[in-house]
Symmetry: C2
Subunit: 496 residues, 2 copies
């Protein structure tokens, strides 16, 4: 076997370890009985250690070097694959296996503690495990920063969004901080309350409606499932993609929009290039592109007025909404789907205030990792916090610092990708609309095949053939630019 072929074999095995990890994560969130947690944590830690060993083995490094010295030409996909392999190898080699193992044990335990403590609003229960996770994350960031010659926070961010630096993010976020608070005020003053929708909405009916929408968008149920978990997510592997939602019997739109959001992630995963299933080049691009796909489907498509022309009859059918009743018209349903509300909870936020939640977390986690801020220190609310809350700080840990699982599970550097994804989604959508003049009419008619076909061709099916930046520039004609997002908000919330 050539060095390249040996590398492919090694990375195929890594992919299979990733399959096991993905399924064990899904199972933990959806199926696992509570007492299974410790054993699961150990199993995940062992898999992480094995993957790390496979990735950092001296043979892997030697093969990567040998390949560099080999003159034989590779095609574009193979070259991109090699590049992705090298990146994974370098990042993994920067961190010792013991730290990988310790991090997995600590984060699984902390996350499991958090789940119970959050419900009980019990900050004291998580303070110590969180401190341990933060300490390990800082250790990891320092090690990565050393190897990559990056600021520690940048080294973490780079895992989720290659080439993106915190200073670039801060610039984009300053722009949004200038724009969003006043814009939100304006929308709040202008918007009127839609007619209320009377529940209860039985879970089973909501599930059927969700599955129908998934099917309409092209989700392939022979290669996927819809289940229930505490927080909606998309997991699994391309040939077995699993999304989750949660149901409230008072509010069906929350669950429906979660399903549509996760369907966006799932379409990306199911649409990855089948020829490169088990290689890094066949994997998704960074977290921001992933989020841009979910927000494309949720924010750009599903909360648009045209989508409700298609969806309203299905909603009425499954949820006993009466045809002709003003509350169940497409207009009123759409008004519900774009209501803006201040609130403490990120996952409940609308697309105007959501970025402010993210900016708040970005600023805090950057300071946490740099050491400027200790995790137990309090701090005066800044622009974003004030704009989100309407100047009243949250009264409890549950609605404040304990609301999100990210830090408790060791995810630092991830939060900004939500908003990078939102900006990107608006930019992709503008390109799609330009390429397909009949797009809105197709959406209104429930004909999503052209749109999803475009996504598959331009984004999903290209895996990691290009970097996220190169792909965005090629497809949309411009690098990431917040003007698309702002224009979208102006049009939707203030436009005609």
């Amino acid at each position: 076997m050539t060095p390249y072929a040996q590398l492919e074999a090694r990375f195929a095995e890594l992919h299979q370890l990733g399959h096991a990890q993905a399924m064990l994560y899904w199972d933990e969130a959806v199926m696992m009985p509570p007492g299974g947690g410790q054993a699961r944590g150990e199993a995940l830690a062992a898999l992480a250690a094995l993957a790390h060993r496979t990735l950092t083995a001296p043979e892997a490094g030697a093969l990567l070097d040998a390949r560099r010295a080999t003159p034989k030409r590779l095609n574009d996909w193979q070259r991109a694959n090699l590049r992705a392999m090298r990146r994974l190898h370098i990042r993994a080699s920067a961190v010792p296996e013991a730290l990988v193992h310790a991090m997995q044990i600590a984060t699984t335990a902390c996350q499991q503690t958090w789940r119970v403590a959050r419900a009980a609003n019990d900050w004291d229960a998580v303070a110590k495990p969180l401190a341990e996770v933060v300490a390990l994350a800082r250790e990891e960031a320092a090690a990565l920063g050393d190897t990559l010659k990056l600021d520690p926070y940048d080294a973490l961010l780079d895992a989720y969004e290659e080439g993106t630096r915190a200073d670039d993010v801060a610039l984009l976020f300053e722009d949004l901080k200038d724009f969003l608070p006043d814009f939100t005020e304006k929308v709040l003053r202008r918007q009127s309350a839609p007619l209320p929708l009377e529940g209860p909405f039985p879970r089973e009916n909501q599930r059927k409606l969700g599955e129908e929408m998934m099917r309409a968008l092209g989700f392939d149920f022979t290669h996927g499932r819809l289940d229930v978990s505490h927080h909606p997510f998309c997991g699994g592997v391309p040939d077995d993609t699993r999304i989750t939602t949660r149901y409230s019997e008072d509010d069906f739109l929350e669950s429906l929009m979660a399903v549509l959001h996760e369907t966006g992630h799932a379409l990306y995963q199911q649409g990855l290039p089948a020829d490169w299933r088990w290689q890094p080049v066949g994997d998704c691009l960074g977290a921001a592109v992933h989020e841009s796909q979910s927000l494309f489907i949720e924010m750009q498509v599903s909360r648009g007025r045209a989508f409700m022309d298609f969806a309203a009859p299905h909603i009425r059918q499954h949820l006993d909404g009466r045809q002709g009743d003003a509350a169940w018209t497409a207009d009123n349903l759409h008004a519900h789907s774009i209501q803006v509300r201040r609130g403490y909870i990120r996952v409940d936020a609308d697309e105007l205030t959501y970025p402010l939640h993210v900016i708040l977390r970005f600023e805090l986690e950057r300071a946490l990792i740099s050491g400027e801020l200790a995790w137990w220190t309090s701090r005066k609310p800044g622009t974003s916090a004030r704009a989100i809350s309407g100047f009243r700080p949250p009264a409890t840990s549950r609605t404040g610092c304990m609301q999100d699982v990210h830090w408790f599970s060791g995810l630092f550097g991830y939060f900004p990708t939500y908003t990078l994804g939102a900006l990107m989604a608006a930019q992709w959508y503008a390109a799609a609309a330009a390429a397909m003049p009949g797009l809105e009419a197709q959406i209104a008619a429930g004909d999503f095949a052209p749109l999803v076909g475009w996504l598959r061709r331009e984004i999903h099916g290209r895996g990691q053939l290009k970097t996220a930046r190169a792909l965005l520039t090629e497809v949309t004609g411009a690098p990431l630019d917040p003007r698309y997002f702002k224009a979208h908000l102006e049009r939707r919330y203030l436009g005609g």
Copy 2:
């Protein structure tokens, strides 16, 4: 670290790989969408190859040798652990990794094909994949036989039941072949039909009844689940033990007895020694002991008359059986639970004809592995086949050679353990009854704690501290003896 401590670390990692494998198997049978099969097969093959590599690495062999040379004393558990490690290492080293990988791919694919083909009664669809599995199994048996200096079939059997040889099994089975056909005839002539139980029995009610029975027997739901699959099984790991059943709305006893059977397996798994969770010595003994635990709960306990005194009110409560109605009395329900019927399907067989199904398969698979019989050859029915069927051969592949998944998933040498387990269960039960004079009264009162406590103390909690043979002799005072089983049958089916 001492060589022993290093070995413990290595085998703990193997245990964690086993956790991933167990959960992926469970998921495949219970959750996986049909299109996920190929990717799952590849993932399982990679895990099997990784486990094989961990087990057979030269370092592992060197550590085992080093430990042999080290004079420092180990305690009984550590010594037994080392013995179990050595056995696993030797068996794994006999088979090349490529064969392990190929076997996993071939069996996953064949099993998935079988699932569809069996429903369609389509022998042609499975003939080729099965031929491949048989060829690989023969290759594996030959390699194992070479290393272990055993006949190839014995080398396979030894994986499931250490130290047991096909000739010993054949002797025991000859005894049963002499006894069971006439005995079955006698019971069939004697038994009368119980009063019919009128369905339908809604699945949800059956599930609740099953969970209630599981709880009563001591199944720990914080460390386990009950789900639905095509064939009932017990999977998972000790801290997360998952059993399945299937429901027919016409016949609740089938599902209930499957739940009780799998609960027997689950109690064994959940009762393994917590101090040795991730080591081979903390694992279950062979397949026959495992089956003896399920049959202990199902055949010895739950189909006994005393159990129905406890269960009948619960059954009536969940399934709308009327108190006072003769069909729903404990006597009539018990009569249903011990009805004997001839039939083609092993999994539907009663405890009299079940061993004959097993003997038929044992004789066939022994001949298949030795090469005396090619898998496509037809053969005249022998004693067991005639006794099972009442002399009419099955008309279709589905009710004949395609009914069981075992060979299609590469399990050869496993079938005899079902009947070894049945013999053993009767022998354990005799010992338990002798040790606890009030046992039947406790069972009738639903007080299972003393019985399950006895099982935990004498069997479950001892892991692999002793061999199956040594444990059986120590606990029951005798090596495996079919007289206990025959005496049990005489008492239940002909006795007063």
